[in-house]
């Protein structure tokens, strides 16, 4: 399956790809991946189930079913995308379907952290610009060239600036978005913090 190939690794500096779009605010993680697909002990097969129920309900007219978008890797969404459940299965399913970056008006907090933690940058843009991009992506192939350092996206020589949290940007550029080893570098400080916390001495776990 295409989805499990070339998953993000190491520093992420540029992303080039075709756009796919989804219209609508408040698209929740239950819609991105319904709960019945959470019965799994790894994420490998989630790609095929992304938006499963929405796709059933839209009779194969869902963008994720349309032939034109099967090789798309940049998703364009509206506001509060990924609200609801904390399930990382949602960005995992998108990633394993083939998504490598998301551009939207806004993202739910937990969904955003989950995306960063698996190497999927989420950029924000104003409502009108998003609408325009969705329009373009619907009419014909829209290829974006994203530069993370500059926080820009280029479409046929037109350049738009994207917003990306500074901390996320740094972690993509230096490849530390997979945070475990960065966190463990401070193990001495962590041990010290644990000893200092007032409630540790009366803990009964």
């Amino acid at each position: 399956m295409k989805s499990n190939q070339n998953l993000p690794r190491g520093p992420i500096k540029k992303i080039k790809g075709k756009c796919i779009f989804l219209r609508g605010d408040d698209i929740d993680t239950d819609r991105i991946i319904p709960a019945r697909f959470l019965k799994c002990i790894d994420f490998d097969t989630l790609g095929e189930s992304v938006f499963a129920d929405d796709r059933i309900n839209s009779n194969a007219l869902h963008p994720f079913d349309l032939k034109d978008y099967q090789d798309a890797s940049i998703l364009i969404v509206n506001s509060n995308f990924g609200c609801g459940s904390s399930r990382e299965h949602a960005p995992q399913a998108l990633m394993r379907w083939g998504i490598r970056a998301i551009i939207g008006e806004s993202f739910a907090d937990i969904f955003y952290s989950n995306c960063i933690a698996i190497g999927i940058p989420c950029f924000t843009l104003e409502k009108e610009v998003i609408r325009d991009l969705q329009e373009k992506a619907q009419q014909k192939d829209l290829i974006l060239n994203i530069d993370i350092q500059k926080s820009t996206a280029e479409i046929h020589n037109v350049c738009i600036s994207l917003n990306l949290k500074e901390s996320s940007k740094i972690s993509f550029l230096n490849g530390e978005w997979d945070a475990t080893s960065t966190l463990l570098e401070n193990i001495d400080l962590i041990e010290k913090k644990c000893k200092e916390l007032p409630y540790m001495k009366f803990s009964k776990i």
Partner: protein, 469 residues
């Protein structure tokens, strides 16, 4: 930027280090895990050749997939059995405390940790579940995380986070009779919207909040996430301390006084600075119920489903989706809409006080003939207490099914699911499309009292009709 709030104090206390770009490394005092979002985290830890660093700071239980009718092992559902088996093995090999089925302490993770006294003021609490915000009721900073972050907490007991802003939601006056914490929080989400909380922690305060019991406060903080806020909290007070006293994992002896003194110092200062403050008049709130597909699409039980023009422009698109999915018409009365299934349970409203309220309404009454009604206690402890009080009998006599503890139809990962486009009156927290297990199933969120009333009449009903003044 906020200053001197409980959030600021707890954040500063747990900060291990500032990181480049404005984020921080934060220590997690209590880490809770369950069967659905942890297996990949343990797998990943093994792939990286890492150990669980502070196994005594993690506590596990099973809730999401457990069947609530027959819990004998192995479960009929092989995948569910595999998931619980994986959690058992991971806990055993990593020396993590695990409250399994039959231990007396199994249940929904957000019900179990408070009733054991694990959740305490001033802690940071993280769990691979968005309703971790529940624990904020104790004055802890508690939030949901994804599986990669579960792995990070297992490996280092820390997380990378950007500090949240703090919005104070001041609830003046008091809730009127027959109006509950669930109505208050649904009302707040409706007024502020489902995305207003993005980037914020919510501090709930004011007389209407102080008047609430600890269980009601958990209902409020639980649904912070439905308003977009990753965490919500309430400053600790005497009620908090009384609730915690003598709980299994709460401090005892000399340490109790020391702990209480420290807890008292954590509350937001009188002169605290907030990023935003809003006020809600609790006395004006009616029993509240959702009509759409987001928890913000709600109205008072005596109101009509809003016309498109009455809805803010930005919310009209999703309102249109909601009319279509729910099959309701703008202008239609919500009262009287027939329901098929009645569900009492979940981490929002599956605690003993919720069961008491519903049972009081159901005493000597019968569930309407065509209704499937069932109650799923939030934990084994809740179930035990309910049985002691004879509540199980009241439910059964009325026609409710009495089940074993778990998440059940809140998210329908077990066999409890809606069928086709059935309508469910549910005390849970999410009315998303397909949430209760059928791609076309419909959910009306409401308080346990309202679910009980709907079960009796078979349609949306004002629960106050059944409550003695």
């Amino acid at each position: 930027m906020s200053q001197h709030t409980l959030f600021d104090k707890v954040w500063d206390l747990h900060k291990v280090k500032d990181l480049p770009g404005g984020s921080s490394q934060i220590f997690i005092g209590l880490h809770l895990i369950h069967e659905v979002t942890s297996p990949q985290a343990f797998g990943n830890l093994r792939d990286k050749n890492l150990q669980v660093r502070f196994p005594s700071r993690t506590v596990a239980t099973v809730d999401h997939i457990v069947p609530t009718d027959n819990q004998s092992r192995p479960f009929k559902d092989i995948l569910a059995e595999q998931m619980i088996d994986t959690l058992e093995k991971n806990c055993r090999s990593n020396k993590i405390k695990f409250f399994n089925i039959g231990s007396g302490n199994q249940g929904i993770v957000h019900v179990v940790a408070p009733e054991l006294g694990l959740t305490q003021p001033g802690m940071t609490v993280a769990c691979g579940d968005s309703h971790t915000s529940t624990h904020g009721a104790f004055g802890s900073i508690a939030f949901g995380i994804g599986t990669s972050q579960v792995r990070d907490v297992l490996a280092s007991q820390t997380l990378i986070m950007n500090k949240l802003k703090v919005r104070k939601i001041f609830c003046s006056n008091k809730l009127s009779q027959g109006v509950y914490a669930k109505d208050l929080v649904l009302h707040i989400i409706n007024k502020l919207g489902v995305k207003a909380g993005v980037g914020f922690a919510y501090e709930f305060s004011g007389p209407a909040i102080s008047a609430l019991s600890m269980e009601e406060r958990m209902t409020i903080c639980n649904m912070s996430i439905e308003g977009g806020a990753r965490c919500g909290y309430i400053n600790p007070d005497e009620k908090t301390f009384n609730y915690l006293k003598n709980k299994e994992c709460a401090p005892s002896g000399d340490q109790w006084t020391e702990a209480v003194n420290w807890w008292k110092s954590l509350a937001s200062n009188k002169k605290a600075v907030y990023d935003d403050v809003i006020e809600i008049d609790a006395s004006k709130i009616e029993p509240t119920i959702t009509w759409g597909i987001t928890p913000g699409q709600s109205i008072g039980v005596n109101e009509k489903i809003p016309e498109l023009e009455a809805i803010e422009k930005d919310d009209q698109y999703i309102a249109g989706e909601a009319y279509e999915y729910m099959g309701f018409n703008p202008g239609q009365e919500i009262k009287g809409i027939p329901v098929d299934v009645c569900f009492i349970g979940s981490c929002t409203n599956g605690r003993i006080s919720d069961l008491r309220i519903a049972a009081e309404i159901l005493r000597n009454r019968k569930v309407a003939p065509h209704i499937k009604a069932f109650v799923v206690p939030g934990s084994e402890m809740v179930a035990k207490e309910a049985i002691n009080e004879g509540l199980d009998k009241i439910f059964i006599d009325s026609g409710f099914q009495w089940r074993e503890p778990g998440c059940s139809m809140c998210l329908a990962m077990n066999p409890d699911k809606l069928i086709g486009n059935q309508i469910s009156a549910s005390s849970s927290n999410r009315n998303f499309k397909g949430r209760q297990g059928s791609p076309s199933g419909r959910t009306l969120l409401m308080s346990p009292a309202m679910v009980a009333a709907a079960a009796i009449t078979g349609k949306v009903t004002d629960a106050r009709e059944f409550i003695k003044p």
